[in-house]
C-alpha cells in the first residue's frame, strides 16, 4: 500500500502537471493561431446565431451541478476532518494487527483503524445519517430548482417547430393508400380539430453518400485550381486509378470537374427516384398540429388498439433528429436493444481482464511477493512512487479513451432517433462501464490479490461484507486515480489538447482552402456522454468514502473545483450545442447520486457487520429503505416535468401566442421544419416536399408519385 509520502509525491507530480497545463493554456490561448480552438464559439456565432437564451440556461444548469456538488461535499469534509479522523486516529486496531497485514498512515486515519465492536462506530453511524439527510435535502432542493427552471425556460422560449410537432412511428401498411395519404386520413379523423399537416420521411441514405462524394470532389477541384493559380507553369495532374496511385495520367482540374458533373447527375437522378418512389418513404412522419395543446394531447395518448402501431412521441428539435434511425421498425428496434445489451455486458466483462492486470501492478507489495526478481527495480524509492502513483491510473485512462466512440456506435445501433437520446444512453453505458470496470474491478480484484483465499468462494449474501472490507483498503488507489484521471484530464480538457493537435495537424497536411480551415475546427458540443459519467463516478467515490476514509474528500473537492472552472470556460467560449437539452440530463444524474447513496449504505452495512457492531444493523437497514422512499417521491414529483408537457402549460402558451400574434402563419412556419437536411441544402427553391394539406385548402396536393406531376386527392372533412 502506498504511504502518505508516496501520495505526497504523486500529488506534487500531478499538481505540477496540472499547472503546466494551465500555464500552457494561458500561453496558447493568447496566440491568434489557436483562436479557432479556444474561442470556436465566437467564430461560429459570427457565422450563425445560436439561441443565446437557451444557452445561458443550459449553461447555468450545467455549472450549478458542480457548484452543488461542492456544496454537498464541503460541509461533509469539514465534519469528516473534525469528527471522524480524530475518532479513527486515536484507536489502534491496525497497530495491534500489524503482524498480520500491511497498513500505512492513510489507513490509520480511516475507519479501518477502529477496533471491532468499538463504541466509536456509533459516531460513524450518526455521520452516515447526517450525510444521507444532507445529501437528500440538497438533491430535493436542486431537483425542484431544476424542474422549475426547465418550465420557466420552456415558457420563455419562442415558437419552435418541435412544440407543435409529434413524431409518429410504426405507421401500419395500408394496401390501398400510400403512407402519405394514410397519415393524413388517420389524423384528420382522430385529431380532427387540431391536425395541421405532416411531413413524411424519405430514405435518403444513398443520396447523402452521393452528396458527400460530390462535396469532396468540389474541394479537390478548389484545391487544384488554387494550386494552378499560384503556379501556372505546372498544370496539376493525377492518375485515374484508386487514390490516384496508378492508371492513366489525367489533368486533375478536368478530372475533378468531370467527377463533379457525374456525381451531380447521379445525385439528381437519386433525388428524383427517392421523391418519386413510394418505397423510399419510411413508415414514419412528423405530424404537426395547430396548437401546442393538440400536439401535447397526441404525444401523450395511445392512438390505436394495437399499442405498437401509430407510436407518438414529442418530436425532437429539427437539428436534434438522428435521421438514419427513423425507419427502424418497433420489433427490430427491440431486438437490436436486446443484442446491444448483450454486447455491452460482454464488453464490460471482457474489459475486466486487462484492467485486472493493470490493477495488479498497482500493488507492488503484493507483486513483489510473487515475482521476487522485480524487487531490485521496485525497491528504488522514486520508481516505486512513480509506479504506485501514476502508472495504473494512466494505463486505465488510455483504455477509457478508446471507449466512448464504441459506446456511441452501440447506441446508434440501438436505434434511438435523436442526438440527445443517443448522448443520454451512451452516457448511461459509459457510467455502467466505469462503475463496473473502474470502481468495482479496482475494489474487488485489487483486494482479491491481497485476500485471495478468503475471497474466492464468496456467496451473494456475503457481498456487502466483502465490499465493506475491501473499500477502505483501496482508498489510496482512488486518491491517486482522482489525481491522475480527474485533475489532469480536466486540465487536458481545458487545454483542448486533442482538438489542438488535430487542428494543427489538419492545418499542416489537409487544409487546402479557406473553407477547409473553417471545417477543420468543429467546436463539438459539450460531450455530455463523457463528461457526465465522469462527474458521476467521482461523486460515487466521494459518497462511498465520505464516511469510510474522509481523507479522500479534499481531492474530490479539488476535482469539482477544477471541473467547475474548466467547463465554465468551455460552455461559454467553445462548445456549440447540437441541441437544447433544457436540463434533460438532470433526472439521470439525480438517480445515479441516489444509487451511490444506497450503495454506500449497503457497503457500510457490510463493514459494520464485519466490525461486529451488530447493534447498529437495524439503524442502518432503515437508511436504504428511506433513501428509496425519497427516490420514489422525487421521481413521482419531478420526473414527469422532464418527460411530459402538461396541458395547462400548453394551453397558457397557446393563449398568449394567440393574443399577441393573432395572425401568425403557423402553417408556413412549420412548412419545411422537418425536411431531411440533405433536401434543404440541395435546393431550397423547389416546392416539392412542402407540408401536406391544410384546412383552408379543400384539396390535397400529393407528391408521392413524382415531384412534378401533382395529383389531386379529395380529402375527408
Amino acid at each position: 500500500m502506498a504511504t502518505l509520502q508516496d501520495l505526497g509525491i504523486a500529488a506534487a507530480i500531478n499538481i505540477v502537471v496540472t499547472f503546466l497545463f494551465l500555464l500552457a493554456f494561458a500561453l496558447l490561448k493568447l496566440q491568434p493561431i489557436n483562436h479557432r480552438v479556444y474561442y470556436s464559439k465566437l467564430y461560429i456565432n459570427g457565422l450563425r446565431r445560436v439561441g443565446s437564451k437557451g444557452d445561458q440556461k443550459s449553461r447555468r444548469k450545467f455549472l450549478n451541478l458542480d457548484l452543488k456538488q461542492l456544496k454537498i461535499f464541503m460541509p461533509l469534509m469539514l465534519l469528516g476532518f473534525m469528527v471522524l479522523i480524530p475518532v479513527n486516529v486515536t484507536d489502534n486496531n491496525l497497530s495491534k494487527m500489524s503482524h498480520q497485514i500491511y497498513y500505512t498512515n492513510v489507513d490509520k486515519i480511516s475507519i479501518a483503524n477502529v477496533q471491532s465492536g468499538s463504541q466509536r462506530l456509533w459516531v460513524h453511524l450518526l455521520m452516515t445519517y447526517v450525510f444521507t439527510i444532507w445529501t437528500c435535502f440538497m438533491l430535493y432542493k436542486e431537483y425542484k430548482t431544476v424542474a422549475e427552471m426547465r418550465f420557466e425556460f420552456l415558457a420563455a422560449e419562442g415558437r419552435r417547430p418541435d412544440q407543435f410537432t409529434v413524431l409518429v412511428r410504426q405507421i401500419p401498411v395500408d394496401p390501398d393508400e400510400s403512407v402519405n395519404v394514410h397519415v393524413e386520413h388517420f389524423f384528420r379523423v382522430n385529431h380532427a380539430d387540431f391536425y395541421l399537416g405532416h411531413q413524411v420521411v424519405y430514405n435518403a441514405s444513398k443520396l447523402v453518400k452521393l452528396v458527400k462524394k460530390k462535396e469532396s470532389a468540389q474541394n479537390w477541384l478548389d484545391y487544384f485550381q488554387l494550386k494552378y493559380a499560384r503556379n501556372p507553369s505546372v498544370r496539376p495532374s493525377r492518375k485515374r486509378g484508386f487514390c490516384g496511385l496508378w492508371g492513366e495520367v489525367v489533368d486533375s482540374i478536368n478530372y475533378s470537374a468531370e467527377q463533379i458533373d457525374q456525381l451531380s447527375k447521379e445525385a439528381a437522378a437519386e433525388r428524383e427516384r427517392v421523391l418519386g418512389d413510394e418505397k423510399a418513404i419510411l413508415p414514419v412522419a412528423f405530424v404537426s398540429f395547430k396548437t401546442r395543446w393538440g400536439a401535447a394531447v397526441c404525444a401523450q395518448t395511445q392512438q390505436s388498439k394495437n399499442p405498437t402501431l401509430w407510436l407518438t412521441d414529442w418530436a425532437p428539435e429539427p437539428r436534434d433528429v438522428y435521421w438514419d434511425n427513423l425507419g427502424i421498425p418497433y420489433v427490430e428496434q427491440n431486438i437490436r436493444r436486446l443484442l446491444v445489451t448483450g454486447a455491452l455486458i460482454a464488453l464490460i466483462l471482457f474489459f475486466i481482464i486487462p484492467v485486472t492486470f493493470v490493477q495488479s501492478l498497482a500493488n507492488l507489495d503484493g507483486l513483489e511477493k510473487i515475482a521476487k526478481f522485480l524487487r531490485p527495480i521496485t525497491e528504488r524509492h522514486f520508481v516505486r512512487s512513480f509506479l504506485q502513483g501514476f502508472l495504473p491510473g494512466l494505463v486505465l485512462k488510455l483504455f477509457l479513451l478508446l471507449l466512448p466512440s464504441i459506446l456511441m456506435l452501440m447506441s446508434k445501433i440501438e436505434g434511438h432517433v435523436s442526438l440527445s437520446m443517443l448522448d443520454k444512453v451512451t452516457a448511461a453505458k459509459y457510467y455502467y462501464f466505469m462503475v463496473i470496470n473502474v470502481f468495482f474491478a479496482s475494489i474487488l480484484t485489487g483486494a482479491a490479490f491481497e485476500q485471495l483465499n478468503s475471497f474466492v468462494h464468496q456467496s451473494a449474501s456475503e457481498i456487502p461484507k466483502t465490499l465493506g472490507n475491501a473499500i477502505p483498503m483501496k482508498a489510496t488507489f482512488f486518491i491517486t486515480f482522482i489525481m491522475v484521471d480527474g485533475w489532469s484530464s480536466i486540465a487536458g480538457d481545458i487545454l483542448r489538447i486533442w482538438p489542438l493537435i488535430i487542428y494543427h495537424l489538419k492545418c499542416m497536411f489537409l487544409v487546402k482552402t479557406e473553407k477547409d480551415r473553417e471545417n477543420a475546427m468543429s467546436p463539438g458540443s459539450a460531450n455530455f456522454d463523457i463528461v457526465f459519467p465522469q462527474v458521476e463516478l467521482y461523486f460515487l467515490l466521494g459518497t462511498v468514502y465520505a464516511i469510510i476514509t474522509p481523507f479522500i474528500l479534499p481531492f474530490i473537492i479539488v476535482y469539482f473545483g477544477f471541473a467547475y472552472i474548466a467547463y465554465r470556460h468551455q460552455v461559454i467560449n467553445v462548445f456549440n450545442p447540437e441541441y437544447e437539452s433544457a436540463a434533460a440530463f438532470w433526472p439521470h444524474i439525480h438517480n445515479r447520486i441516489v444509487a451511490s447513496l444506497i450503495f454506500e449504505q449497503i457497503a457500510l452495512l457490510g463493514l459494520f457487520s464485519s466490525k461486529r457492531a451488530a447493534d447498529s444493523t437495524p439503524f442502518l437497514i432503515g437508511l436504504p429503505v428511506l433513501t428509496l422512499a425519497f427516490h420514489i417521491y422525487c421521481k413521482n414529483r419531478f420526473e414527469p416535468a422532464f418527460l411530459k408537457y402538461p396541458l395547462q402549460e400548453a394551453m397558457t402558451k397557446d393563449t398568449i401566442d394567440k393574443a399577441l400574434q393573432p395572425d401568425f402563419g403557423i402553417k408556413s412556419f412549420l412548412q419545411n421544419a422537418y425536411t431531411h437536411p440533405i433536401f434543404k441544402t440541395e435546393d431550397d427553391n423547389e416546392e416539392s416536399r412542402h407540408l401536406q394539406s391544410s384546412e383552408d385548402q379543400p384539396t390535397l396536393i400529393c407528391t408521392t408519385r413524382s415531384t412534378h406531376a401533382k395529383k389531386v386527392v379529395p380529402i375527408i372533412t
Copy 2:
C-alpha cells in the same frame, strides 16, 4: 415421507368427501328452501336487470382461464408420463442411497431417482424447453384473444357514464374559489371544447351511519308490527337501555317509531349541513366530457406543472366506486401504502411461525425421531395415513380462511378508490401470502426439518440449489395439499356451504320480515380476490413440478376440472357482479404465470447444478432470459389494452353514436351518475346535486352554500 399407499388412502378419502359434497349439492339444490342460495342470481334478476351481455363475456373469460390451463397441463402430463417417468424409474439413485435417506415410491418416479451427472438429465432439459415454449405459446395466444375480446366487449357496450367521465383527484386549494368553481374554471380553460360538467364529492360518512341506523330501526318497527298483528293480545315491549337489556320498560312499536323520527330529523340536518358546508366537499370531482375522445384525452394526459396535482384517471363505473377512500390526499395515500406494505411483510413473516409448526406435523417420520412417545399412536396405519394426508392441509386451510378479510381491510386502508382495484390488490396480497407461507414455507421449513444442519447457514447464491434440492422432496405434501385444499374447497364452494349455513341460521334467528329474507341471501360477487390467487397457486405448483415430479400433474388437472365445473355454475347461477371487470384481471394472472415459469427455471438450474450436470447450465441460463424477453414483449404489446382507451376507438364510438342518435341528451344522461348512493336513495326528487353547468346555460347554478339558496356566478367562456 408418505408412500403411494398413504396417498391412495388420502385420495380415496378426498374423493369420497368431494362426491359426498357433490351429492349433497345435487340434493340440496332441489329443495325449494335452498333456492335462494343456489340460484340467487335468478332472484336478483327478477328484481333488477343486470347487463347480461357483459356478464356473458366476463364469464366466458373466467371459464376460459380454467379450460386454458387444462390445455397447458394436459399435453404436458401425457408427455411427462410417457417420457420422464420411465426415464426416472429406470435409474436407481435412491436405492443406492437408501441407507442415508428415507424415500418412497413417489420419489422413485421423480427426478430424485436420477443419478448425479447422468446423461438422462438431458431429457429433462429438453422437456423444460418444450414446456416453456408450449406455455409461452398458449399464454401469447390467450393474451391476444383476451385483449381482442376486451376491445370487442368495450366496442359493443352501450353508453355508460364511466366512458365519458374522468376522476380528478388532488384538486389544489384555491383561496378565492370553492372547489366547485375551481374545477369548472380549470376544465373550461384547459379542455375548452370537450368539458361538459362535473360532480363534486361530499364527505357523507356521518350521514351514511345515520341512514343505516334509521333503516335498522325501521326494520325493528316492521318486526314488532308484524308480531303484534299476529298476536294482538300482547303488545310487544322492551327496555329503553342498551340493547333493550335494562332501563324503563316501553312500548316497542312506539319506541321504534320515536327512534325513526329522531334519526330522520338528524339525517335531514346532517344532509343540510353536508350539502351546505363547503368544508364537506372533498378535493375530488367526477368531470364529464361531451365525447369519449375528450375523456380519453383528459384521462391519459398530465394536466398541471406539478404532476401530483389535478390527477386524472378513468372514473370507475358508478357502482364500482369505493366512496370512503375518495378524499385521501396523495401524500397520505403513499404513506398509507408504505405502512401497509410494512404491515403485510410483518403479517407474512409472522404467519410463518404457526405454519412451520403445522408443517412439522406433516412429517411424522421426522417427528417420531424427536418425540419417541408419539410412536405408539402414529404407528397405527390408519391414524398415520390420516395425519399424513389430511391434517396438515386442513389446519393450514383454517388459517387461510381468516385471511382474506384482513387483507381486504389492509387494501381499504391503502386508499384505493374502486372495488375492482381493491379486489386486484387484495388478490395480489393473498397470492404473495400463499406463495411465501404455503409454497416456500412448506418447501424450506419442511425440508429444513430433515436437512437442518446443511441448511442453517445458507447464503443467497446457494438458494437455487437449496430450492432445487428441496422441491422434489415435498411433492407428496403438495399432492395431499391439492386434494384437501383444492378438491374439497372447490366442492365446498359449489355447495356454498358457508352461505347455506349462514342463510339458514339467519332464517331461523334473524329474519323478521320478507324484506329481511331478501337481504339474508346476498349472492356475493365472484370473490376474485380469493379465487384467482388459489388458481394461480395451483398453477405455480403445476409449473414447478411439471418437470421434477410429473406425477403431481393429474391431481392438478382434476383440480382445474372441478374448478371449471364449479365456477361455471356459480358465475351463471349465483354471483351478482359488483362491477364489470372486462377481463381486467388477466394481465395479473399472465404476469404470475410467467413468474412461475421463471421460478421453475431457476429451481431447475439449482437442481441440475447439484446433480452435477454443469454442461447443461448454459442451456438453462438462456431460458429465464428468453422468458423475460417474452414477458416484456407481451407487456408492451397487450397490457396497454387494459389500462388505456385508444383515441381511435373512442373516436369511432363517438362517431357511431352521433350518427345513430344525433339528438341524444348526453347531459341529462350523465346528470346524477356519480352522486353518492346515499343521496340517491334518500331523495331522488330533490334537484340540488345536479351536474353543474353546461354550454347552453350561460350561468352556473352553484349549490355550495345551501341546497335552497341558489347563487348565480358568471362563468368564463
